[in-house]
């Protein structure tokens, strides 16, 4: 139904384009045209499609909730909770669609009939309204075509609006992220105190926290303490940075200050391959090769090492991050003005002294920015941790034990079928929002530092 309607609108828009162009040629025989003939076509097509499609979209967004309100009106006197009402509505819909398998009560049957009836009314109203709008807007547009009004300007203004709406897409995505995270997270924090979440030291969401059919706040308090996850996340990120910063920074310095043009041309893109390899591949590598390798070495030294150690995951993550640091720091050091170097050489400094005492300090803000971006990347990294670093949230600072991270727990909780409305599912969104805030914080600082740095030398 919807598909037919949309196709109809689009087909009509195409026909009105050709019609408008033809009309322009007719007008041309008697008067001077105000624009190229095709603009007459565009004008008609835009007036045809845009209002109808906008109304269609608005209708499609609001119809379900309006229908739902009408159906649930009949249940207001029963004192039901929100979840129960939702359940009833789902049942009514299933019954109306003929896929309901449960017990059919009279009341439910009535509601389903009402639902079908409402849907029917809504559908015919939709078609009628859209047809009316089509007729109205097309006749309006046709009249101005006949009057030979200015045609190019309105079309261009319309196009500009289309462009503007597209640029809102990115904002919309951000709003979507914040909204979807907040919505579930707020419900989670209604069940679990935010204080217990941020400062609790015991994370065990698989535990049953239902006592006598009701979620027990005392048990829940002990299940959703996110400190082990925050600690694990930053611990693994720290290990990763221990690998990535020295290697990345030294490679960056070598590439920008020492390497000949040939080496730079090939070495840089090859190192960047490391950043292009999918993280799931690193995860496999960490779990299958590095993890057992670390364990073997540790055992040979008489240490007790878990096969899923934080060290293995962190080290592999560090390798993944090397190019972020090396390429960015190479870029910022290349951007340091040549006269700083020349001045240093003129004073008799060697190359390495110039790098250490002049270029590095000058490029420091940019390098710090790139490191912060890399940290944010490490904090948000998921697959390596899921596959290589165990899933039990231990509060430990021993790199040879297994720990878990925010991202890994989100995956563990949400893999498979989720039940919305369950505190366990909601806790993943609470974790998600803390992750979002941390990475946003890091990014904003990093981007502003890098921006300031750029301005300094431009």
């Amino acid at each position: 139904m919807n598909l037919i309607l949309v196709t109809f609108i689009i087909l009509l828009a195409f026909t009105s384009y050709y019609f408008g162009r033809k009309k322009a040629l007719v007008i041309q025989s008697s008067q001077r045209l105000t624009a190229l003939p095709k603009f007459y076509g565009y004008y008609l097509a835009a007036w045809c499609a845009a209002p109808a499609l906008i109304i269609f979209a608005l209708w499609s967004v609001f119809e379900p909730s309006i229908v739902k309100t009408f159906i649930l009106q009949d249940y207001t006197d029963q004192n039901l909770t929100k979840n129960e009402l939702q359940l009833i509505y789902t049942k009514v819909k299933a019954l109306a669609a003929g896929t309901y398998t449960g017990n059919i009560t009279n009341f439910l049957d009535e509601s389903a009939n009402k639902y079908i009836q409402l849907k029917g009314i809504a559908n015919s109203a939709k078609v009628a309204i859209i047809l009316a709008i089509l007729i109205f807007s097309l006749s309006f547009a046709y009249r101005s075509v006949q009057k030979n009004d200015r045609m190019r300007e309105p079309v261009e203004i319309f196009l500009k609006w289309v462009l503007f709406v597209a640029s809102l897409g990115a904002v919309l995505v951000t709003i979507g992220i914040v909204f979807s995270l907040l919505f579930e997270a707020i419900r989670f924090f209604q069940a679990v105190k935010i204080f217990d979440f941020i400062f609790g030291t015991h994370w065990y969401p698989a535990k049953t926290f239902v006592r006598d059919g009701q979620p027990d706040p005392e048990l829940m308090k002990d299940a959703f303490g996110a400190v082990p996850l925050f600690a694990g996340t930053f611990f693994i990120a720290f290990i990763a940075m221990c690998v990535a910063i020295p290697i990345g920074l030294l490679s960056g310095i070598y590439l920008s200050e020492y390497a000949g043009r040939g080496v730079r041309k090939y070495a840089k893109p090859i190192i960047e391959i490391l950043a292009g390899i999918p993280t799931v591949v690193y995860g496999f590598f960490a779990a299958l090769t590095v993890g057992p390798f670390v364990k073997e070495i540790g055992n040979a030294m008489g240490l007790e090492v878990s096969a899923e150690s934080a060290l293995a995951a962190g080290a592999v993550m560090g390798v993944m991050i090397i190019p972020f640091i090396s390429s960015l720091s190479d870029d910022v050091m290349t951007a340091v003005p040549q006269n700083l170097r020349d001045g240093s050489y003129a004073m008799g400094a060697t190359k390495s002294e110039t790098v250490k005492k002049v270029i590095f300090p000058a490029a420091l803000p940019g390098i710090v920015g790139s490191i912060l971006l890399a940290v944010s990347r490490a904090v948000g990294e998921t697959m390596i941790v899921v596959m290589a670093s165990g899933l039990a949230a231990n509060l430990t600072m021993n790199p040879l034990e297994s720990t878990s991270t925010i991202t890994a727990q989100i995956v563990v909780i949400l893999i498979g079928d989720q039940q919305f409305g369950d505190p366990k599912t909601q806790s993943a969104f609470a974790l998600g929002i803390s992750l979002f805030i941390v990475t946003l914080f890091l990014n904003v600082i990093a981007l502003s530092v890098v921006k300031k740095y750029r301005e300094k030398y431009e």
């Binding site: 809102l168 999918p278 949400l414 990475t439």
Partner: protein, 423 residues
């Protein structure tokens, strides 16, 4: 020059040389990580492109097949009972084996061996009543033994292939009845719980559909947004806000987009779970900022003289943009798009959250059929305990990497071939 100064100079030069070596070592380490990594994947994965078959003889006995008709039709062959025939084909390898031990022989081939026996007859109806040789897919364990990936010297009770099966395997191998051929089914069959039957067709199609959906959603919006921001947007607070937004969006962890897909696309819009449609939309939200940034950069690279020339000829702003600036910026935009899609191709975590991790043993035909994707398939297989999946994972990684390399090459070619150099 006194000796003190000489020493100092020597020290400084040594420090210089050391520092240079640190840099070289760092680059060497980075490159060797890559080399070790590639070597590991290739050495583990190449054997998955070959498949082990066990050759035996099958007697298409009409009586055992329970076919009564004199000249049976296709339907008769379709509905015949292949259990006994297939069973005999395997047990005939060692006629002396007591009946209660026969499972040991049956376990040497895949559990679909009955279907393979049936397929051969359906393809060649004239085999009915004859004794013909047949190739059966070897079980995962025999396959691994034959490829040398499975140690034979561990104690029998820890081995998935027992001594008797090894003995039969050796006998067959000596007779030349174990074949190693190119593994077509790895590319043509969907996922399976059995390593010897599992293929990447379903996840490959899932990936293709997701990427197409992703392209369809992200490319138009991103290009239009980039045009607005670069060519039309007034310099004000709101435009700045949009820009900051885009830059931050590009650095949001991918898993957060998965949560968005779950919380909005599945829970609010009720789109079908586990499908490339939802996966593609989720990925498109991720690639949106990447493409916007690339498109803006390439719009910026078009020299102002082009715009000025068009404006001087009386073109409107919109005409200048649409007829001149945008077409000239297209190569850069397209190569940025391809790179964005390549990133999306390797994403796993958001797809897991929207349920594309479900076990799918059919090949999806449309974007609204449940499917996995190549990276998710890697995750699924690497979580399973069977030894045969290790090489499958590595092979799947090789396919994925090949895909990524192709896309990056395409981006390079688009950029270098079609981009105009302004100087």
């Amino acid at each position: 020059m006194n000796s003190f100064k000489k020493n100092l100079l020597k020290k400084r030069y040594n420090a210089e040389r050391r520092f240079q070596w640190y840099g070289k070592i760092a680059i060497g380490l980075a490159l060797s990580f890559l080399a070790v990594f590639m070597f590991q994947i290739f050495s583990k994965g190449y054997s998955a492109f070959q498949k082990t078959w066990i050759v035996t003889e099958v007697h298409y006995d009409k009586e055992l097949l329970l076919i009564d008709a004199e000249s049976p039709s296709k339907d008769d062959l379709e509905n015949a009972d292949y259990y006994d025939v297939a069973y005999k084909a395997m047990t005939s390898l060692d006629p002396g084996l007591p009946e209660e031990e026969d499972r040991q022989l049956i376990q040497m081939v895949s559990y679909k061996y009955e279907a393979e026996v049936k397929d051969l007859l359906l393809k060649n109806p004239d085999y009915l009543g004859k004794i013909v040789p047949i190739k059966l897919t070897a079980s995962d364990d025999v396959d691994q033994v034959h490829k040398g990936n499975y140690p034979r010297d561990i104690p029998e009770e820890n081995r998935r292939v027992n001594d008797y099966q090894l003995q039969i395997y050796d006998m067959l191998n000596e007779r030349g009845d174990i074949l190693l051929e190119f593994n077509i089914s790895f590319f043509t069959s969907p996922d399976s719980r059995e390593a010897e039957l599992a293929g990447i067709a379903s996840s490959f199609m899932g990936t293709v559909f997701s990427i197409l959906v992703c392209l369809a959603f992200s490319f138009p919006v991103a290009v239009l947004a980039a045009i607005y921001l670069e060519e039309f947007a007034p310099k004000n607070k709101f435009t700045d806000f949009i820009e900051v937004n885009i830059n931050n969006l590009a650095a949001v962890p991918s898993i957060v987009f998965g949560l968005l897909g779950l919380g909005i696309l599945l829970a609010v819009f009720n789109l079908p779970r586990s499908t490339p449609l939802v996966g593609g939309i989720t990925l498109s939200l991720m690639t949106l900022p990447t493409i916007i940034i690339a498109a803006r950069a390439s719009l910026k690279a078009v020299p102002p003289s082009i715009r000025e020339a068009a404006l001087a000829m009386g073109a409107s702003n919109m005409q200048t943009t649409m007829h001149h600036t945008v077409p000239l910026s297209m190569p850069g935009t397209l190569s940025g798009t391809i790179i964005g899609l390549a990133q999306a191709l390797g994403e796993t975590a958001p797809l897991i959250l929207i349920g594309m991790v479900a076990f799918v043993n059919t090949i999806p035909g449309t974007p609204v059929d449940p499917a996995a994707s190549l990276p998710v398939q890697i995750y699924i297989w690497s979580e399973s305990a069977e030894r045969g999946f290790v090489e499958k994972v590595s092979a799947c990684i090789m396919v994925l990497l090949a895909f990524l390399i192709l896309m990056n090459l395409a981006a390079q070619i688009v950029r270098h071939k079609f981009e105009k150099k302004w100087s």
